[in-house]
Structure formats: C-alpha cells, structure tokens
C-alpha cells in the first residue's frame, strides 16, 4: 500500500526491495557465526526432526480421518517445506560430506485413536513447533532468525487452520 500523493518518500516497493536484499547480506555473516562445525550438531537439526515428524503425523491423520483431511494435508505440506528449507540452511553452512547425510526418516507415527485425539495431537505438535522455532529466534544469526521466525509464524498460522 503506497501513500497516495507524494506525501511519503518511500512506498511498498522500497520495502519489498529492501527485504529482498537483506538475506543476501545476512548470509555472509551467518556463514561464520553459524559455523558450529565440530562443536556439536547444528541447532537447526532439532527443528528439521520435529518438522519431519509433524509432517508424518499430519499425513497419517489426513489418511485416517476424512473430516481433518484438508487441514491435516496442509499441515503436512507446510511442515515438509519447513524441513526442506531448514535442511538447506544446515547444508549451506556445513556442506554434507561423502557419507550419507543424516536424513533418516522419523519412526512412523502411531495414528491417534479418534478424530478428536488426532486434532489434539496436531495442535500440540504445532504449539511445540511454534515455540521451538521462536526460542531460536532470540539468539540465532540474523538470516536464521528470519527463517526460524517464519517457521514459528507459519506454525501459528496452521493452528488457525485447525480451529
């Protein structure tokens, strides 16, 4: 939305352009700051694991409960996208070596016993995922703060879909 007349020096376009430029600059600093390298697992790994297991749960629920199928399918696809984007960021900082990457799929989730239980399980999973990503936002390097913030806000949005 641009201010009408010439009253403001900036418009929406400026903002979009600036926002688009930021991640590139941020990526430089992140390469150093996030290079956890030998000092232990990348903190994003825990987010990938949770995103994959949420996606598996959502797919199982979508299959078992037609009433939840639409929202659970959406949850599954969004959490899959989260897992992929987070994994890409992990691989960018620490390119995977020759050995097989730790992309082991999570254990198959047990399908909740009723539609109510399934909805509750999805809601709890999204709440936990929202918090997990939000916790990272406060201390992560800036490009990761943006990614984790979007993942957290994405999970919060999915909770609206379940309402």
């Amino acid at each position: 939305m641009e201010p009408s007349s010439q009253s403001g020096p900036f418009g929406r376009r400026d903002m979009l352009r600036m926002a688009a430029l930021v991640p590139v600059a941020a990526a430089f600093t992140a390469g150093c700051a996030a290079g956890s390298g030998a000092e232990g697992p990348d903190p994003l790994k825990a987010l990938v694991t949770r995103a994959r297991s949420d996606a598996a749960l959502a797919r199982a629920v979508a299959k078992a409960y037609p009433g939840l199928s639409q929202s659970a399918t959406m949850i599954g696809s969004v959490r899959d996208e989260h897992a992929s984007a987070l994994q890409r960021e992990i691989d960018r900082v620490n390119p995977p070596g020759g050995e097989k990457n730790s992309s082991k799929s999570p254990p198959a989730p047990s399908t909740p016993a009723s539609s109510d239980a399934a909805e509750k399980a999805l809601r709890e999973a999204l709440r936990a995922a929202r918090k997990q990503a939000a916790d990272l936002v406060s201390w992560a390097p800036s490009n990761r703060a943006g990614l984790a913030g979007s993942v957290s806000a994405g999970c919060a949005s999915l909770l609206e879909v379940l309402r």
């Binding site: 939305m1 641009e2 201010p3 009408s4 007349s5 009253s7 403001g8 900036f10 929406r12 400026d14 903002m15 979009l16 600036m18 926002a19 688009a20 930021v22 991640p23 600059a25 941020a26 959406m74 696809s77 969004v78 996208e81 989260h82 984007a85 939000a134 936002v137 406060s138 201390w139 800036s142 490009n143 703060a145 943006g146 990614l147 913030g149 979007s150 993942v151 957290s152 806000a153 994405g154 919060a156 949005s157 999915l158 909770l159 609206e160 879909v161």
Partner: protein, 149 residues
Amino acid sequence: MSAQLSTKTEDALRSVLRAEQAAIWLAGLTRAYASEQRVASAITEAADGHRAHRDAAERLLRDAGVTPAPAAPAYQLPSEVEDQRTAVQLLITSEEDCAIGWRSVLETSEGAQLRRTALDGLTNAATRATRWRITIDKQPAAQAFPGKP
C-alpha cells in the same frame, strides 16, 4: 535514549512502521464494507493489534533517537474495494506487507528484545492473514514462510 540501531535495522523499522500505519488506515476504510458482524469485529480487533505494533515500532525508533515519520493522510489502494470480499482481499495484502516488514526487522537486528517484538509482529500478521483467507475461502489459507518476500 537506549540502544543505537544499525542503519539496516533503522530502515527496516521505518518500513514496517509504514506498513502498520497503512494497515490502521485500511481498517478504517474496509470496516464500511463489512456486511457481516463477525468481519466488522475482526477488523476492529485487527486495527487494535496494528496500533500496538505501530506504537512498538515508533518506540523502538524514538529510543534510538530517531523521529518516526507520521502516517500518510491516505493510501493508494492496489485494487478496488467494492464489497466485503474485495475488502478482505486488501486486508490480506496489508497483513502480508506487515509480515514482510517484521521479518525484515528480524533479519537485520541483534538484540533479543527487539527480535521478540519483531517475532510478535510477524506472528500476529501471519495469523490474521490466515484468518482473513479462511474468511473468504482463499486457499492455501496458511503460508509456509510468512514474511518471506
């Protein structure tokens, strides 16, 4: 005067302030097109949320010794408003603008407190956008990465 802001953070805060000011203005305009009471109430609630985030952006700028720009008297609409549906479509666009603005603050700032404020702004804009999409049955109702330009 507390923390100094980097130029990038200051620019991001100025941008998101413009988006929040526009959202408040848009709420006033679209309320007249709400044909359902639940939509009218949701617009009022959204306006309150945007005022809180506008105030937060202004405060952060002032605390760093920067004078926040005032809101424009009116804004050019990217599409026409004819009824509740087209009004809600504009509300979605405006929430997406706010989400982009707050994510940009996240990506340019360092302090935990500032990032907390930005995450709140991003999350609220994203959830409101999702509720508006559900209101007019727009799919997909949720974006995977709200605020990603």
